[in-house]
């Protein structure tokens, strides 16, 4: 069942284009995949880098002269835009070899770790962030620092797994 879905994704024209199955008269054969990769690198850089800024503030290791809420408001909209671009470029690469990636262990691990990062973010947002008014300017409470540290570690894991995908497929 799932294999049929994966194969039909692979047979779409976008998937073919990314794989490089373009007519011989087009000179950019082989270039589409690296171009999509470049977009993905830019997007994940902004995702990780912007989350890193907020996490470092939570840990008290940077941006200490800025309110947590002000930094989040300035930076996190960029995170979400970049995340959407990363998801789109990632999906494009995925469908080019869907049945290979789907069974790739680092690929699966990457999404498991990303899910954990998501849970960590939700737990932070609906728990300790509710009392932000009490610690917006000063040092963050312990639970916020733990969330910040976990966030950095989990996103490092996502990047590490992602890099391994390229070496194992």
């Amino acid at each position: 069942m799932i294999d049929d879905v994966l194969r039909s994704l692979e047979s779409t024209s976008v998937a073919g284009l990314v794989r490089g199955d373009v007519p011989a008269y087009i000179s950019w054969e082989g270039w589409v995949f690296p171009l999509v990769e470049i977009v993905h690198v830019f997007a994940i850089s902004i995702v990780f880098g912007s989350i890193f800024m907020v996490d470092m503030r939570l840990l008290g290791l940077g941006h200490r002269d800025t309110r947590v809420s002000a930094l989040s408001r300035a930076v996190l909209p960029w995170t979400w835009v970049a995340f959407a671009v990363a998801a789109l470029s990632g999906s494009t690469m995925f469908i080019s070899k869907a049945s290979t990636y789907f069974y790739n262990v680092p690929f699966r691990l990457k999404f498991l770790v990303m899910a954990l990062a998501g849970i960590n973010m939700l737990a932070f947002h609906f728990n300790v962030y509710r009392t932000i008014d009490q610690w917006d300017m000063g040092p963050s409470p312990r639970r916020a620092r733990v969330a910040g540290a976990l966030s950095i570690l989990l996103w490092l894991g996502v990047i590490y797994c992602g890099r391994w995908v390229g070496f194992t497929t």
């Binding site: 082989g30 270039w31 690296p34 990769e37 470049i38 690198v41 830019f42 994940i44 850089s45 902004i46 995702v47 990780f48 880098g49 912007s50 890193f52 800024m53 940077g62 941006h63 200490r64 002269d65 800025t66 002000a70 930094l71 408001r73 300035a74 930076v75 960029w78 490092l156 990047i159 590490y160 890099r163 391994w164 070496f167």
Partner: protein, 168 residues
């Protein structure tokens, strides 16, 4: 000339041992990407702040003071991890025009960023201490040029692996 150098580097014991440890190159690439992410995001924050595109009630001097030290730390790590990858596969790197293009851009952007850091520390121009405003012409030129250079560095860096497409 570069080919000879590359072959010599590849024949060294260090190059062999880096290649023998199969986890080392992927790990150094992952660290490389993490540092690229921090540098690129920091550069975006400074440039967007200089251009008045980011709503952050904070002076350029405060912002640059917190992110430029991280940028220089990350650039140092980038040089080390990049060196590991160069020693592992010297022909792929040293024979690629994109590699040298990237290095020239790295030198330029590091120089420009150091210039900004020194200017902000020494003279502390009044625009650098106000919050929420756009900066003067020279600072905005810096913002655009450094963004273009960082983007070029990322593009060349990723494309080094595909240099063979240029020659086929």
């Amino acid at each position: 000339m570069a080919g000879k150098w590359a072959d010599w580097i590849k024949s060294t014991a260090l190059s062999h041992s880096i290649r023998d440890a199969v986890w080392l190159v992927p790990t150094s690439q992952a660290i490389h990407i993490v540092c690229v992410a921090i540098v690129l995001s920091s550069a975006c924050m400074i440039s967007f702040r200089l251009l008045g595109l980011m709503q952050l009630n904070r002076s350029v001097r405060q912002l640059a003071g917190s992110v430029i030290p991280w940028m220089f730390c990350c650039v140092a790590v980038l040089l080390v991890t990049g060196l590991v990858q160069t020693i592992a596969e010297p022909r792929r790197e040293l024979l690629a025009g994109l590699y040298w293009t990237k290095m020239v851009m790295v030198l330029c952007v590091v120089g420009f960023t150091a210039w900004l850091a020194v200017t902000l520390r020494r003279k502390a121009p009044s625009w650098a201490d106000t919050t929420g405003t756009r900066s003067p012409g020279a600072a905005r030129v810096f913002a655009v040029v450094s963004l273009v250079l960082w983007a070029g560095i990322v593009i060349c860096g990723r494309l080094i692996a595909y240099s063979y497409l240029l020659h086929s």
